[in-house]
Symmetry: C2
């Protein structure tokens, strides 16, 4: 298949029986009668180029120490990431300032250790990806929440409120952009406000940009480090092909340091080899995704866009009490089910009464028990079954 | 193929053209006319059960978040490791005290950070695996060498000499058993002497036992932590299937903490998620190796044993000036080429005059420039070509 071949859903959709046969967390965590719509991977085959890169190693049983960039297999990965950032966003970062990681959570943890001390404050948008919140707490740092608030048709955040709660021991701001679970891709004005704030309080910014590949028409991704040289000097950008190209099990991510000085400061506290080496199947798959995967990604995004609109229309028509905003990016919806009048948590309600497995809102926000996060990266028949069960259970409860 | 099928060399040997087509460090690092005998992987196909475990994921493109032991994929790995230790060595370690790593060097680095401070001393046998020596230096610790000395027909070490050079800031002893590059599998008496020494100086012992699967007839592996409860309480055992089962690129290893208190002390300094998650292809392959790979390993060991004896006989007959001892374990030979009268390093001599790629002795020991480490895990035809080139070049130099 050439890179210019147009990808249709039938090229990547997998039928339900094959999904159920997988040994995946998504399809095995809940009992077999539960339809899963939680953990962030997609019910799709990977890009042909990704599979070809994996098969090259597997068919040759070439599992020895790899030669990729001499004895530094992460270097080609760093180079491809840097080229991709320059091409897509006009952001220049030298490959020498990009390191390989197993996953973003490792990067967040390591950067928290490197750039703060126990008891220091770490700002994180809430709701947010639960492991980021855990990272702050298990390293003995103080979680300083930056609330995502519902605005006219979208979500925003309020830096004035944050100003009131931080103190001189606040060292780090974890930015998630596009944001999980709200799906916001922040505007330049919003990001510049964060930068002014970070400069005023001398904060290191850890910018999780893993969802940048999953952007819908009309939205734009702006790497935080691309705002200015001063922004780059205080920013560690974290990314991976695992979300956009659906390979989270392969464990390969990158951290890009805006300056060499920042990378050196990091390694003074966290030596490179404490992070472990990344397996070369993950590296090869990531390089293939980033260099040859665009046609597949375009096809997947067209399908996700259609599913996003389909879910939104259906919920607005059938369950107007569920409040949400259309995401700018991600295949995730942050659903406020407060007005459904559910007793207990929304997650438990849908699990019990609709046999649906959503992500529990309380894992993303202490006050999120009436929310769920819904993953709509599946086929239309499965999605319709999810919506049908959801509507039926919610209506029965409202009667 | 059943587990009881007898494995012959033709079941795992790969021809030279296929090896040269690999993108492996071993076969691509040197120019094409150089025969490689350096980096520690084997020129063999993997165990059928290992390949089947990998193919199960790859054919289903099941690259999402894995379900293996719920959302803790390392748990089945830890369980299998603990069961293997109990079965093979009568050593009991609870699976809850076993963590997953990408590689042993990560474990050594992390344990050095957890159990010592900058400036503290770390004892390591020399010659030793170069990344261990680097780990001590890049973390700002002081390397305290424990010399391996040639004894009657073997190698030993001298703890009295060590006693004279350590001080109260020496915190850690890195033990490599079986030892790389000398191939020694230490006796119970030797290990007990190390334990007495470690107790007297209150040292944490980091016991690299990655070569334990590659033991020759007559040799025995004794896990250091199995010596006594007191030994376990100060020991972190590091292991992996990557050496014995030839899958280093897949990046999966374990660290077993002798007590829960030791693990807790480790995690107080090195939070779990700083280490990153291990990819599930590596985990699956390791579990398959440890539970279904024995027939393959037996076949490989029979071949390695024959190659070990063949190299030894050939060198003793054709190049008696090269001094070495038969290894108890590993497919590595530590060759003292001092008496060959080579100018410059032994590595460079054989590279230039024999087009052979050995591991340079000076990477394992500051005074090792007249040594090379030879990897004999290949087919007899390739090994014969290596020996022929080696003998020819050395003899020409002696004339």
């Amino acid at each position: 298949m050439t890179q210019n071949h147009i990808i249709h859903p039938q090229d990547f959709l997998i039928d339900k029986a094959a999904l159920q046969a997988r040994r995946s967390y998504k399809w095995r965590h809940y009992p077999a009668d539960v339809l899963p719509a939680f953990v962030a991977d997609m019910d799709f085959r990977v890009a042909p180029a990704v599979q070809a890169a994996i098969l090259e190693t597997v068919e040759a049983q070439d599992y020895g120490y790899p030669l990729r960039g001499g004895d530094r297999p992460h270097l080609p990965l760093a180079t491809v990431f840097a080229e991709r950032m320059a091409l897509r966003y006009g952001w220049t970062v030298p490959a020498e300032q990009v390191i390989a990681l197993a996953d973003l959570v490792q990067g967040i943890n390591a950067a928290i250790l490197a750039f703060s001390e126990p008891g220091d404050g770490v700002i994180v948008q809430v709701p947010n990806y639960p492991p980021f919140r855990e990272s702050i707490l298990t390293t003995g740092r103080k979680l300083v929440p930056l609330e995502m608030v519902r605005t006219q048709g979208s979500y925003g955040f309020d830096l004035e409120t944050l100003e009131a709660v931080i103190d001189e021991r606040t060292r780090i701001l974890v930015l998630c952009n596009p944001q999980n679970p709200t799906g916001r891709a922040f505007s330049r004005a919003e990001l510049e406000a964060v930068l002014v704030f970070a400069e005023r309080h001398d904060l290191i910014v850890l910018s999780d940009e893993i969802h940048a590949d999953l952007l819908y028409p009309g939205a734009r991704h702006i790497p935080f480090a691309s705002l200015s040289a001063a922004a780059a000097a205080r920013t560690v950008t974290l990314s991976s092909a695992t979300k956009g190209f659906n390979i989270p099990g392969l464990r390969c991510a990158v951290a890009a340091f805006g300056t060499d000085a920042l990378l050196k400061r990091f390694h003074d506290r966290v030596p490179s080899r404490v992070l472990g080496s990344v397996n070369h199947i993950g590296i090869d798959a990531t390089i293939a995704a980033w260099t040859e995967g665009q046609a597949w990604l375009d096809g997947v995004l067209a399908h996700l866009n259609a599913m996003r609109d389909h879910v939104a229309e259906t919920l607005r028509r059938e369950l107007p009490a569920v409040r949400f905003h259309l995401p700018d990016a991600t295949y995730l919806l942050w659903l406020d089910c407060t007005d459904l009048g559910i007793e207990g948590t929304a997650h438990d309600f849908f699990l019990e009464h609709a046999r649906l497995g959503f992500s529990p809102g309380e894992a993303f926000h202490p006050d999120g028990a009436k929310h769920v996060r819904m993953n709509f990266a599946t086929s239309k028949p499965i999605l319709d079954e999810i919506l049908e069960r959801m509507v039926k259970a919610a209506r029965a409860n409202q009667r």
